[in-house]
């Protein structure tokens, strides 16, 4: 569903993503883990067609993000980092606007709207303006915008940011429920989220993938049997940093 081949992205002299390759299949939840500035958001922006790769190819659902960006956008549900939403819009209008942009009209739009209100539990804030919503609700409104057209690919940038522990648990259940037939890639630096719901983990640091696999595979790769993802993550990141510093 998602295919990234030798992708590099630079901002002037800075390389944010450096020759990355990976794939995400339908029915798979992949956690994208890395420290701040690792290149997670940049990679997700490229998958969402917001940024162009400097080199390499990105395809979603078989469509190249450069050759057929509209086809890609029809197939993705994207929750950008910091959840940028129209603050002055009423939540219900915003969901309808995004649904409309995805070509939903009439009864289809109503059905989609009802579905996401139920899934994301945004009923209590439906008549409020986005700026009046709490951070957690704002995040859920962003998620409902990403889900309104029932996309086969979900790209979520820090989706649990601003959630309380109960909301985090509900969100994990939601993602597991959505996983069937969907490719889900979500970025986070909360290791517990990744351990709880990911089928696979991509560890990224300084624009490079340091690890790609399930927990067992990563433990084997790092030589840290039974250590847990947090220890593997710390080990891989510190090793890379030390190596680069000594070079």
């Amino acid at each position: 569903m998602i295919r990234v081949d030798s992708v590099t992205r630079t901002y002037g002299a800075i390389t944010a993503v450096d020759d990355i390759s990976f794939a995400v299949a339908a029915g798979e939840i992949v956690g994208f883990v890395g420290p701040n500035g690792a290149g997670k958001s940049t990679m997700l922006k490229m998958l969402a067609t917001f940024l162009r790769p400097t080199a390499g190819t990105v395809t979603v659902g078989g469509f190249d993000t450069l050759q057929a960006p509209l086809e890609v956008r029809r197939r993705i549900g994207y929750l950008p980092g910091d959840t940028p939403l129209y603050r002055d819009m009423v939540v219900d209008d915003l969901v309808r606007f995004v649904g409309g942009a995805h070509g939903l009209v009439g009864a289809d739009l109503e059905a989609a709207r009802t579905r996401v209100i139920d899934i994301c539990d945004i009923g209590p804030v439906l008549g409020q303006r986005v700026r009046e919503c709490s951070t957690g609700f704002r995040q859920r409104v962003g998620l409902s915008c990403a889900l309104v057209h029932d996309p086969p690919v979900l790209l979520l940038d820090e989706p649990t940011h601003g959630f309380d522990p109960l909301q985090v648990m509900a969100f994990r259940d939601l993602l597991i429920g959505l996983k069937q037939d969907r490719a889900i890639l979500f970025s986070t630096h909360i290791i517990a989220d990744v351990e709880a719901i990911s089928d696979r983990v991509l560890i990224i640091h300084q624009g490079r993938i340091l690890g790609d696999g399930n927990l067992d595979e990563l433990e084997q790769c790092a030589g840290l049997g039974g250590a847990g993802l947090e220890a593997i993550f710390a080990h891989l990141v510190s090793t890379t940093t030390t190596t680069q510093v000594s070079q």
Partner: protein, 243 residues
């Protein structure tokens, strides 16, 4: 088309949700009405000319105030990322935003119709001339809105967007003002730079033609091509964000 309409509807709502839009509209109508009444009572002629003569100068701050938030707010709040990852072409989004601004501007222009009603009540004004004047006013506003949106797309800062648009509007208007043309011509009498600039880039001679009752193809094309050019630049600028 459907995508543009969707964006336009959202934008129109945003205009009416903002107190700034009401305030600028009220200030604009009061200033336009006051300046017209002044000239009307002094000259005592049943004519809309004083209103149309003042309009370009009023639009210099008014239109930038309308367009300054158009794109710079999208950049500042990050919503440009939401908008540009929806399955809409950049041109559809640009046309939608522009259409909404044009609709809002046209609505404000209709706020001056009581002046026409008053003139009809007082005498027999030339309604054809008034129609031409309104057409010119609409096209002039359309051009200002087009470059206002373009300049707003270049910056995250609304004040900068306002200043740039007001500066360009001033250049386009004042470069056609006879007194300015005369002064600039005087700087190099052999080359007549003031006349050359006025003839080539200024919007004022084209607007004046409409106000005088002339709907010439060249004048119409000036406004349509210039507005189209700035809209095209805006969507090119949006595509550049990806790089």
């Amino acid at each position: 088309m459907a995508g543009s309409l969707l964006v336009a509807r959202r934008e129109v709502r945003a205009y009416f949700d903002s107190p700034i839009a009401y305030i600028t509209a009220a200030v604009f109508l009061v200033l336009a009405g006051t300046s017209f009444m002044n000239s009307f009572f002094l000259a005592g002629v049943i004519d809309m000319r004083p209103f149309f003569d003042t309009l370009p100068f009023l639009l210099i701050p008014f239109v930038p105030a309308l367009t300054m938030r158009s794109w710079s707010e999208e950049h500042a709040q990050g919503t440009v990322e939401l908008l540009l990852t929806l399955p809409l072409q950049p041109l559809q989004i640009v046309v939608g935003k522009y259409g909404a601004a044009l609709f809002y501007y046209a609505l404000i222009l209709t706020g001056s119709l009581p002046i026409v009603a008053m003139l009809v009540w007082l005498g027999e004004p030339d309604l054809g001339l008034i129609f031409c004047g309104y057409l010119g006013a609409f096209l002039l506003g359309a051009l200002f809105l087009a470059f206002g949106q373009f300049l707003s797309s270049l910056t995250h800062n609304q004040i900068v967007a306002f200043a740039l648009a007001a500066l360009l509007a001033s250049i386009l208007v004042f470069s056609g003002e006879p007194r300015v043309v005369e002064v600039v011509d005087g700087l190099a009498p052999l080359w007549q730079p003031g006349t050359a600039i006025s003839d080539s880039i200024s919007c004022l001679p084209h607007y004046e033609a409409f106000v005088s009752g002339l709907i010439g193809v060249d004048h119409l094309l000036y406004f349509l091509l210039m507005s189209g050019f700035f809209l095209w630049l805006t969507q090119v600028g949006l595509r550049r964000i990806q790089y």
